[in-house]
């Protein structure tokens, strides 16, 4: 039990530190790398929650694909340190920070107020064997959520077509001259 607690705090600190780095660092390349670290941290937190398969998918999709795209784009743009990384204007900046803090306070407060009322369905056996979570996940995905699954397939197709069309349109990256 003590190792569990230790693991959670370790991962939480790593994830939060990486998340803060994403927002505060002025060099976008370090932002992207910190984002990758955040993804890995969140994936490890998934493991502590028993979502083994999702943890793997999180790394493959986010850290292995999406963030690589971010890193590549930053490299293509050849962006160095920014002079004006943050929005100017002291009043508006303070306002934005304050609104962020307010939202955070509200969220955390509501979590503490309501979490006691969250009830747990006792008899539903999420098995402790990880493979079973995966099988359960795919059973639900292909029965209850099969329509959403197909819809996502269509969405991905549209995005693939759209991304290429965007790149080939006038002014796009692959425009024909």
């Amino acid at each position: 039990m003590i190792t569990d607690v230790f693991l959670f705090w370790f991962l939480a600190i790593v994830t939060l530190a990486a998340g803060i780095t994403v927002v505060t660092v002025t060099n976008p390349i370090y932002s992207a790398l910190a984002l990758a670290m955040t993804m890995i941290g969140v994936s490890a937190l998934f493991v502590t929650l028993g979502a083994y398969f999702l943890a793997g998918v999180q790394i493959i999709v986010y850290a292995g694909a999406v963030t690589v795209l971010f890193v590549m784009v930053v490299m293509l743009f050849d962006l160095k340190y920014e002079v004006v990384a943050f929005s100017r204007g002291k009043v508006s900046g303070a306002l934005k920070l304050a609104s962020g803090a307010t939202l955070g306070g509200l969220l955390i407060g509501s979590i503490f107020l309501t979490v006691n009322g969250v009830t747990k369905a006792v008899s539903v056996g999420t098995s402790e064997k990880a493979g079973d979570t995966t099988k359960e996940l795919s059973r639900l995905l292909f029965t209850k959520y099969v329509f959403g699954f197909e819809a996502l397939g269509v969405l991905l197709l549209i995005i693939a077509v759209g991304a290429v069309a965007l790149a080939r349109s006038k002014g796009g990256t692959h425009a024909e001259h």
Binding site: V23, T38, G50, A51, L54, T119, G162
Partner: protein, 124 residues
């Protein structure tokens, strides 16, 4: 394998408060607070940063925070549905990043600019 829906309804009489079942250690609250902090971090990033790429990264951060709370709920409530939602959110997030970056790259190629304030001046 038990059907989830029927299992929930049949289990309704002996539902227990989560706080009763967790004597020590890490509970739902920990994960939810962590996810809330990550979400707020992402929001502050979107509000404060001017680089459009970093803003997209902050949006990814927010989506990750949501994923974390989905999985936490799924684990502590014993329902797999949350994990499937995470699956969907991941797909949407990747699609959003792909299209967002495609637009950014198009604009950058033309105007060599990623500052979000510059985007206001764009006219069709």
């Amino acid at each position: 394998m038990p059907n989830i829906d029927s299992a929930v309804s049949s289990a309704a009489p002996n539902m227990v408060l989560l706080t009763d079942t967790i004597p020590v250690g890490i509970g739902l609250t920990h994960y939810l607070v962590l996810s809330a902090i990550l979400f707020v971090l992402g929001m502050i990033g979107v509000l404060l940063r001017r680089n459009a790429i970093v803003m997209l990264m902050s949006i990814e951060l927010m989506l990750n925070a949501v994923n974390l709370s989905f999985v936490a709920f799924s684990h502590f409530l014993g329902l797999i549905d949350g994990q499937i939602m995470v699956f969907f959110v991941m797909t949407i997030a990747a699609a959003e990043a792909a299209v967002g970056l495609a637009i950014l790259v198009s604009i950058f190629k033309r105007y060599r600019e990623v500052n979000i304030r510059f985007f206001e001046h764009l006219r069709g």
